[in-house]
Structure formats: structure tokens, C-alpha cells
């Protein structure tokens, strides 16, 4: 009897391993937890894409809940998430700051003209240095920042309707009440 139970060990080990593999298959390796959650938004001063002589800083948004979306005209998934961002811009009064990441300002402006501009303010991080401070790995990435300027959520990869409805919109509502 005891021996028969021992024979089951490999089977149990197999199922435990298989369980880990199944869970692992569902994980996205690009989704790296950001150490910036709960931390103040990094300081920056970047030119306004539409008015390059004007500098935009995080202080401009103190007291409001805002999103910072890192995107680029060369980024395919940014086009994928564009309709969802546009819907958010239309249906919610949250400020969406578009940060053009590692891209020429004229390319960014052209892209926005062609596809529509969902952003309250657009800024240009042409050399990607502010992107490094935000820990941006690849566009699109979106940060949700509260009234005190604390980063509350990071979306790695494109925002879709599900993320919008289940995460971002509820969090915006909650943060607005604080």
C-alpha cells in the first residue's frame, strides 16, 4: 500500500509542474511590475508639441487626476489603442497627456492630424530621457496619476475597452473623489 502511494509521487510532481506551466503560459513577460507605483511622478519639463516654446511640467496638473500616455508615430500598438483613448477623452473629463516618445515632433503632429488627437496636452520627449525616468520600456505605456501627483497605475501595452472599463475608468472615478 505504502509503495503504491510512493509510485504516485511522479504523477503529483508532473501535475504541479504542469500547473505552473499553464499559469506561466498565460503571463505576459512584457508586464513587468513598475517600481513607480505609489511614488511621485518624476519631475520633467518638456516642450508642448503644439507650442514648442511652452514648457510643460507635472506641476501643471497638480490637483487633478491625469493620464500620461507614452506613444510614438512609429508604434503600431499605439494605433490599436487609439480608439479607446479617443473614447476616454470624449466620455471622461480626465486630462490625457500624450508624451511623444523617441520620435520627431513633426512625425507626431502629422500622426495626430491624420488619426485624431485624443490628448489634452501633447509633449515631446524626443530623446527618450524622460521616458527613462518613467521606466518606459516600449510604447504604448500609460500612467494614471492622482491629484497629489502620485502614480497609481501603469498600463503596459495598449489600452483596450476591457482595460478601460475594468481598470482605468473605475480608478479615475475613485481617485477623483479623494
Amino acid at each position: 500500500m505504502k509503495k503504491k502511494l510512493l509510485l504516485l509521487i511522479p504523477l503529483v510532481v508532473f501535475f504541479v509542474l504542469a500547473g505552473f506551466f499553464v499559469v506561466g503560459l498565460g503571463l505576459n513577460p512584457k508586464e513587468i511590475p513598475s517600481p513607480l507605483i505609489g511614488k511621485p511622478v518624476p519631475a520633467f519639463s518638456l516642450p508642448d508639441l503644439n507650442a514648442p516654446e511652452k514648457a510643460v511640467t507635472p506641476q501643471d496638473f497638480l490637483g487633478q487626476v491625469w493620464l500620461l500616455n507614452a506613444w510614438a508615430s512609429w508604434c503600431v500598438s499605439c494605433k490599436t489603442e487609439h480608439p479607446s483613448l479617443a473614447r476616454l477623452a470624449k466620455t471622461s473629463d480626465v486630462s490625457i497627456i500624450g508624451m511623444l516618445y523617441r520620435d520627431k515632433p513633426e512625425n507626431g503632429s502629422e500622426w495626430l492630424r491624420r488619426h485624431g488627437d485624443p490628448f489634452t496636452v501633447s509633449i515631446a520627449d524626443a530623446d527618450g530621457s524622460v521616458g527613462i525616468d518613467f521606466g518606459v520600456i516600449g510604447t504604448p505605456e500609460t500612467f494614471l496619476i492622482d491629484k497629489q501627483g502620485i502614480i497609481r497605475y501603469k498600463q503596459t501595452g495598449p489600452i483596450n475597452e476591457e482595460v478601460l472599463n475594468k481598470k482605468i475608468i473605475p480608478m479615475i472615478k475613485e481617485l477623483k473623489q479623494l
Partner: protein
């Protein structure tokens, strides 16, 4: 391994040399010590875009930017530890090839030792069981004993 590292270092330096033509700042260019530090640090940092390469090996734009950061910060007199902190503050521990020892990574560090210990325990039990089984095996019957003796003495074949 040493040869591999050397090859990496040479390719990285070659790569950087090439980039100098592309008008990139080269704060460590004329300083072999700083250059060596930059390469060593770059080999410790993971390229987050390709994930299975260090930023020294990767050609991804982010890796180029981060190499540049490393060199600038070395030129600015920052210590290795400060540069590593700069990276983990932004990208998390994932940016390090060697994860730091802390509660969340404890299993990662001692897991192999635990598995080894479990293996040793299992082996000890198994061997004990076997030797016990060997000593406890049933004694020979009289007829068997007689035949064994005969065989040993060569009276039977």
C-alpha cells in the same frame, strides 16, 4: 567563460566606437578604467525590450539609451551602486540579471538547495529501505541450504 566575456567586451567596445561616429557623447572614451566599469555594469543590466540580453549585448534603442546613461553617470562620478539604484528605481529588480536577496526572492535563492536537500533525504530513505530489505530477506530452507553448499563445494553444477 573568460573568452566569452572578452568577446562581449570587445564587441561592445567595437559597437560604441561605431556609435561615436554617429555623434554620440563618449564620456568614457579615453578612460580605460571607466570604460571597463561601463562594460561590466552594462553586462549586469538586462535589456528590458529583448529580456534575454544584457544592455551590453542588445541593439535595442532602450539598451543604447541605458548604456549612454551608464557612461554619463560614470563620467559624473557616480558609484556602481548609485547607478544600479538609478536603474532599479525606474525599471525594478527585473533590470538586474542577478536578483537581490529579499523576502520575495528568497525561494529563488534557496529553492535549489531545498530541492537538493529533498533529494538527499529521499535517497537516504530509499537506500535504508533497500539494505533493510536485503538483511530481512527470508532465510533459506533446509533443502536450499544443502543445495547451496553442494554448489559451493563444486559437487553439483
Amino acid at each position: 567563460m573568460k573568452k566569452f566575456l572578452l568577446a562581449c567586451a570587445i564587441s561592445v567596445m567595437g559597437c560604441w566606437g561605431g556609435m561615436a561616429v554617429a555623434d554620440e557623447a563618449m564620456p568614457t572614451e579615453n578612460d580605460p578604467v571607466a570604460q571597463k566599469r561601463a562594460v561590466e555594469l552594462a553586462l549586469k543590466l538586462r535589456c528590458l525590450v529583448c529580456q534575454n540580453q544584457s544592455i551590453a549585448e542588445s541593439d535595442a534603442e532602450l539598451a543604447v539609451d541605458l548604456r549612454q546613461q551608464v557612461r554619463e553617470q560614470i563620467a559624473a562620478g557616480r558609484s556602481d551602486k548609485e547607478i544600479i539604484t538609478f536603474m532599479t528605481d525606474r525599471y525594478g529588480d527585473f533590470v538586474l540579471y542577478e536578483p537581490p536577496m529579499k523576502p520575495a526572492t528568497l525561494l529563488l535563492w534557496i529553492g535549489p538547495l531545498l530541492l537538493l536537500a529533498a533529494g538527499v533525504v529521499a535517497m537516504v530513505f530509499l537506500l535504508r529501505g533497500r539494505s533493510q530489505a536485503a538483511t530481512e530477506s527470508a532465510p533459506l530452507t533446509e533443502a536450499e541450504q544443502a543445495r547451496a553448499t553442494a554448489l559451493l563445494e563444486g559437487r553439483e553444477s
